[in-house]
């Protein structure tokens, strides 16, 4: 018997009598994936509802008309983000759906789904909110034309720089994550000869 055969034998003998979950537990667990997706969706939708309520209030109560329009645009942008979240969540596949797929094909599909979500974060998450936020922040200055905008208080520009830096940071972090996943996908493609 070769050394690797001896290790294989020891490995296979290491769990000879497994404790199997009972059928009721298995059946309950079978819904876990769907429950997890529903729970995650509920949290994300609740966050969207919170933003919609706040900015709807701004759209009604803010003194400046331009700022009210901006708040309304943020509400619309948030609804677009919620729709995109729903679309991305529906792309998640239940675990058993990949039964007929080779393991690396499944792994690649999982990684590609996550990479695409991260790489496209500007389009589906940041962009829908930018116009409304811009109009809200520049609103008071815009009401007095281009000259008013040029003479807008420094605090507005500081706020704009802060928001731009935050958005850029979110975008950069996501791009880095997407690049890391892309590297893992490339590794799989090298292993499968690009058949996936």
């Amino acid at each position: 018997m070769s050394d690797s055969d001896r290790v294989r034998q020891a490995w296979q003998a290491s769990v000879a009598d497994p404790v199997l979950p009972d059928l009721a537990t298995v059946r309950t667990g079978a819904d876990r994936f769907y429950r997890r997706v529903r729970r995650r969706n509920a949290v994300e939708y609740a966050a969207c509802v919170f933003v919609v309520i706040c900015f709807s209030a701004y759209a009604v109560f803010l003194p400046s008309v331009t700022m009210r329009i901006g708040a309304l645009m943020v509400v619309i942008g948030t609804l677009v983000v919620a729709w995109q979240l729903h679309r991305l969540a529906s792309a998640a596949r239940p675990p058993e759906s990949a039964a007929a797929e080779p393991i690396l094909v499944h792994q690649r599909a999982e990684l590609a789904r996550q990479r695409d979500a991260l790489a496209g974060v500007f389009t589906w998450y940041l962009l829908p909110l930018i116009p409304g936020l811009l109009v809200m922040m520049l609103g008071p200055g815009l009401e007095h034309g281009v000259v008013g905008l040029l003479h807008a208080p420094r605090s507005i520009w500081i706020r704009m720089i802060f928001v731009a830096a935050t958005f850029t940071g979110v975008w950069l972090l996501n791009q880095r994550g997407a690049a890391r996943l892309g590297k893992q996908i490339d590794d799989i493609d090298a292993l499968t000869g690009g058949k996936t």
């Binding site: 490995w11 290491s14 059946r27 667990g29 990949a98 039964a99 690396l104 999982e110």
Partner: protein, 178 residues
């Protein structure tokens, strides 16, 4: 009525598979997850996916392939999620070494020591190499591993060669010491 019979049939087929492959599923889960509590969750998740899959398994491939694919696919998704959270760095078969050990590999009852060392090595492997290692340990042939993973035959052959060398190393080191 038809739905009830379908569920009963699914229950029976799942129970048969769980009895036949339960130990292999448990071993596979040990290879993917070191934490005992998370491993228990992973095993349950694999069984749940297996039970659901019997709703549409009609002999598309051998039952063994079916069960192993489901188990590995669930485990791979688990690993991807865990890696995103933990950011652990993993290595290839050409980079890892079996952890050093000063005990007698043969004397240890049931080869527990060698299995512990093996698991410590497996947990440091990148997913693709881990799949090959785990399937090889379950006695699958190179062709079966290639079919199951989707890896090219050449890539599987190279990895099996490395796995064999890795597994033989502790014995070779012990021989040198003796």
């Amino acid at each position: 009525m038809g739905q009830g019979r379908g569920n009963q049939d699914r229950d029976t087929r799942y129970a048969d598979a769980a009895r036949s492959y339960g130990a292999a599923i448990e071993r596979l889960a040990r290879g993917y997850e070191a934490d005992a509590e998370l491993r228990r969750d992973l095993v349950q998740e694999i069984h749940a996916a297996l039970w659901r899959s019997y709703g549409y398994f009609e002999g598309q491939c051998s039952e063994r392939s079916w069960v192993y694919r489901i188990a590995h696919n669930v485990a791979v998704s688990h690993l991807i999620t865990r890696r995103r959270l933990k950011r652990e760095s993993l290595a290839g078969l050409d980079e890892v070494e079996m952890l050093p050990d000063d005990g007698d590999l043969e004397e240890e009852a049931g080869g527990r020591r060698i299995v512990e060392r093996l698991l410590a090595t497996i947990h440091r492997l990148a997913p693709a190499d881990r799949q090959v290692m785990l399937l090889y340990l379950e006695d699958l042939s190179a062709a079966e591993i290639a079919d199951m993973t989707g890896m090219s035959a050449g890539a599987v052959a190279v990895r099996i060669h490395r796995v064999k060398a890795l597994l033989a190393k502790p014995y070779a080191e012990q021989g040198d010491l003796a």
